[in-house]
């Protein structure tokens, strides 16, 4: 398939944004999933709601809230600008929007996988002298690995496809925040650009299919190893 240089830039930026979002949210997602699965505390329900909010809020609302929080005139935005990490209308902001929108899917899959690990095994590990951290690292996470992987892939796919919050928070700036979905949207607004849109649609389908197949294979391998 022949992509123009502009389209390659869009694909490259999309991958950069989605991978950044996924990799950086992975530790937080895992921690949140573990805490939700294994601990009961006041605020457990509130945390659960907060994590899942982006799943049910209109994406444009999430994007606008991000703009209110991290925009150039907001205090948080000014602090980040000062330390050299501006978010509004930057690709970093696109990554944050994608991460937040993908977070519920990631946490949900990981939490279900962790809940499926028998607490009896964790108890046994504890009596063998393993600290909670070691139990999590050597028993819980390895046994939940297929689900953790599935959550990661799901988050990556969601991050690649994120549109509403992204375009609201960081707009649609070629070379900076124009990801595959916003590029497709832009192309469809201009008469005669349908072929370009169609090429990006094919890329998007190919990446998604590849991600799903890859996760399936990895999960199967993990299962065989276990």
């Amino acid at each position: 398939m022949i992509l123009g240089p502009g389209e390659w830039a869009v694909v490259g930026l999309s991958l950069k944004v989605a991978l950044t979002a996924t990799v950086l949210s992975l530790p937080f997602g895992l921690l949140t999933a573990y805490v939700l699965a294994r601990y009961r505390f006041p605020g457990h329900g509130a945390l659960n709601v907060l994590v899942h909010l982006p799943l049910v809020l209109p994406p444009v609302v999430t994007g606008y809230l991000l703009l209110l929080t991290f925009g150039a005139n907001a205090p948080a935005g000014r602090v980040l600008e000062a330390i050299g990490l501006p978010l509004a209308f930057r690709w970093t902001g696109a990554a944050l929007a994608a991460a937040i929108m993908a977070f519920p899917l990631m946490v949900r899959a990981m939490r279900l996988a962790i809940e499926a690990v028998p607490p009896a095994l964790e108890e046994a590990a504890g009596t063998l002298g393993a600290s909670r951290l070691r139990v999590a690292a050597t028993v819980t996470v390895p046994l939940a690995f297929p689900g953790i992987l599935a959550g990661t892939i799901l988050a990556l796919a969601k991050a690649l496809g994120e549109f509403g919050a992204t375009i609201t928070f960081v707009s649609n700036i070629p070379g900076e925040t124009r990801t595959i979905p916003t590029a497709i949207y832009a192309a469809l607004q201009v008469p005669g650009q349908e072929p370009a849109a169609f090429r990006l649609i094919l890329v998007s389908v190919a990446i998604s299919a590849f991600a799903l197949v890859a996760s399936e294979i990895l999960a199967r391998r993990a299962k065989v190893a276990a």
């Binding site: 028998p118 009896a120 095994l121 108890e123 046994a124 590990a125 504890g126 009596t127 063998l128 002298g129 393993a130 600290s131 909670r132 050597t138 028993v139 390895p142 046994l143 190893a225 276990a226």
Partner: protein
Amino acid sequence: MTGRVEIGRSVAGFTLDFAADLAPGVTAIFGPSGAGKTTVLRAVAGLTRPDRGRIVVGGETLFDADAGIDRPVAKRRVGYVFQEPRLFPHLSVARNLRYGARGGGTDGVVDLLGLGSLLDRRPATLSGGEAQRVALGRALLSDPRILLMDEPLSALDLARKREIYPWLDRLRAEARIPILYVSHDIDEVARLADRMILMDAGRVAAEGPVAAILSRAGTAAATRAIAGGLLTAEIAGHDVADGLTEARIGDQRLWLPGRVGEAGERVQIRLDARDVTLALDRPERISALNVLPVTVTAIDTGPEAGALVRLDHQGQGLTARLTRRSVAALALAPGQRVYAIVKTMSATPARVAEIGASGRER
């Protein structure tokens, strides 16, 4: 004394009130389901938090409600063998064994429990008995100060249990630490334990050497089923033609079914109080081979039709369970000399505990 457990815990409709000293050797915690046996083990391990009391093992206080001490599970150095093996399915047997290993190699325990041929296997490929042996080895390798075993054989059939007994005997002979062994199988207790703690409805109903508890077991529903006796005898020889084993208590001869142990070894014979019959005169021309002269020491009459007649045979206690009508008809009274008749086949092999010549003295 290597420790003491003295704990209380109240949850909806159930109160646990347990106190016992910990001694080296195997102490069975016996009782019906729901008596609180597992809760005691979990409290010692730190998996369940008691409301009150203290737990001291090997000189270290693991829990003290008043002093606010509650050592985390991982720091307690308890070996816990659960009802199910709980092996880590994603690790090989060797890595399961090394998971909690402290210092030294694993060779000693691998030899002790015969695990050498299993090391490269995955837990999913082990039989129930093998998996439980690996779980025991894994617990031992963490160099525990106390070993907690929660009905580790209850999921196994009789054949698999018999397969594991010899390994547990070796462990008992070598272990220098207290072993708390929860069970609701009295044969298993007679087979494995030195002492027993009888629990009922969250309380300690009786505590002491197994033989003493069995011969004294009370009239309460929870303990009636275990009343009987645990007689220690010495094997004198075998009658191969009839398939019997001859044992002696002093000059008194006892026949046991099957071939058990070797001449000169000590054997323990568990008797069920319901299998013991009493006669005022030495009976002649009866099928039962074992007739023991005994002295009546006490008669416990329960609220129902039954009565427990406590007996003494050369210093060893046993109990016969008769109807109150029979007790009246024979006019039994403490101090009376009578004959206890025990069918040989009542001492079934599961009720025979072999003790090596070098075995422990009770």
